[in-house]
Symmetry: none
Subunit: 211 residues, 2 copies
Amino acid sequence: MEPQQQQQPPPNNEDGGSGKGGFLCRPSSTRWTPTTDQIRILKDLYYNNGVRSPSAEQIQRISARLRQYGKIEGKNVFYWFQNHKARERQKKRFNVSDVPMQKGLTATAAWKPEESIHNNYSMPNITPGVAASSSSSPGVIPLGQTGNCGYGSLTMEKSFRDCSISSGGNGGVGGSISPNFGWVGVDPYPSSYTDLFDKRRSMEEKYLGRE
Amino acid sequence: MEPQQQQQPPPNNEDGGSGKGGFLCRPSSTRWTPTTDQIRILKDLYYNNGVRSPSAEQIQRISARLRQYGKIEGKNVFYWFQNHKARERQKKRFNVSDVPMQKGLTATAAWKPEESIHNNYSMPNITPGVAASSSSSPGVIPLGQTGNCGYGSLTMEKSFRDCSISSGGNGGVGGSISPNFGWVGVDPYPSSYTDLFDKRRSMEEKYLGRE
DNA sequence: ACGATATGAATGAATG
DNA sequence: CATTCATTCATATCGT
C-alpha cells in the first residue's frame, strides 16, 4: 500500500529459536512480517476474490499456501483479513466528508484506496467456478490461482496525495481541478464468493490452540 | 536484531506525475505537515479537552475544523492522536524508572508540557496543561467541541513491558523457549498487558496452523 | 552535507 | 467488528 512497499528480505527471519542454541536469538521478530508475495496473494484474495472473513478452513488453506513464501501462521492470516477490512471501513468512516469548500471536485478523500488489483496472472474468471469446488477439496487449494505463478512484481500501488485545496486564509487555489486519479472507484468485488465460500455454519468451530 | 523489515523508499516524487502540469500543485511532501495552528488546536484538544482517541465523528469534525488552517484529512487527525498518545506514553515508560521509592506523590498527571511550541501566530496561548486544567477532573465540559468521549481519563494504565526478560547471559529464565513460537510458545514479554492474574487466552478463535 | 531527533504513516496484534 | 496498543518505517526539520 502506500508507497510501493518492497520488502526485500522475505524469508529469513525464520527459525527463531529453533535449531541452534536456541535462546540466544529471540524469536526473531515477534511479529509476522509478510513478504511481498504473501501480501500480493492476500490482496488478491481480498480484492479479487472478495474474501473478507475467511473461515477456519480457508485460513488454513491460505496460510498453507502462503507458507511457501515465508513463515506464516494461521493467526496471521486471520488478523490480516481482520485488519484489512477494519481499516478499509475505518478510513471510510472518518474520511467521509470533505465538505466541499470551494466547488467542484469531490472525492478528495481516501487516503489509501487501493482496491482490486488486477492480477496479472491469467485467470479468466474468478467467479464461482473455483469457489464452488472449494469446500471439500483437500489438497487443492482453491485460492485465486492455483497454479504456480511466475508473475513478476506486481506493483499496484498508486500514488495518492492530492493537491490540497488549501483553503483558509487565501483565496485558495482557483483552479479546482482534480488531479486525483487512480483511486477512483474500482472498489467492487464480485462478492459472490463470499456466499459460495462461506458456509457460515458455526461461529465457533475453530480450534483453540494456545498452549 | 529485528528483522529487516520492510518498506523501501520508493522514489515517490509524485510531483512528477503531474509534473509539468501547468498548475502548481506542490503538495510536494508526501506527508501531511501540520501548520502551527493545526497543531495548536490539536494540542488544545489533547491537553485541555482530554481528547485522546477521537472517534470517527469527532475526527471528522476536528479535521473539518482544522481544514481552515490548511489541508488535512481525517487520517491525519487520527494518526496525530494515535501518535501523540503513544509517544507520550512511550516516553513516560522510560521515565518512570526513577524514584523507586515512595510513590505517593509522584507527579501525578504531569505531562511534560513542551507544547506551546512556536506560536508565531495569534492565539494567546492555550495554557499548557499541568497547572491549568488539571486533567483529572471528569467534570470538565468540553466546550463546543462535541466532546463526549471520555477524556480526562488519564488512565494510569498498566505500563509494563520492560525489557527484562532477555535472558541471555544469566539465569533467570528457564530455558524453555520453545522453538516453536507462534502463540504457542512463550512470548518474549512476560505477562504484560492482558493481565497478570487472568490468563485470558481466548481470542476469538485460534487457528493454529501447525504443520 | 550529514546525523539526530521529532513525528507522520502504516500495520501486526490484541482486546472489548 | 470497532478500537486500541506497540512497533517500526519514512521523512521533515533542525543542529552542528
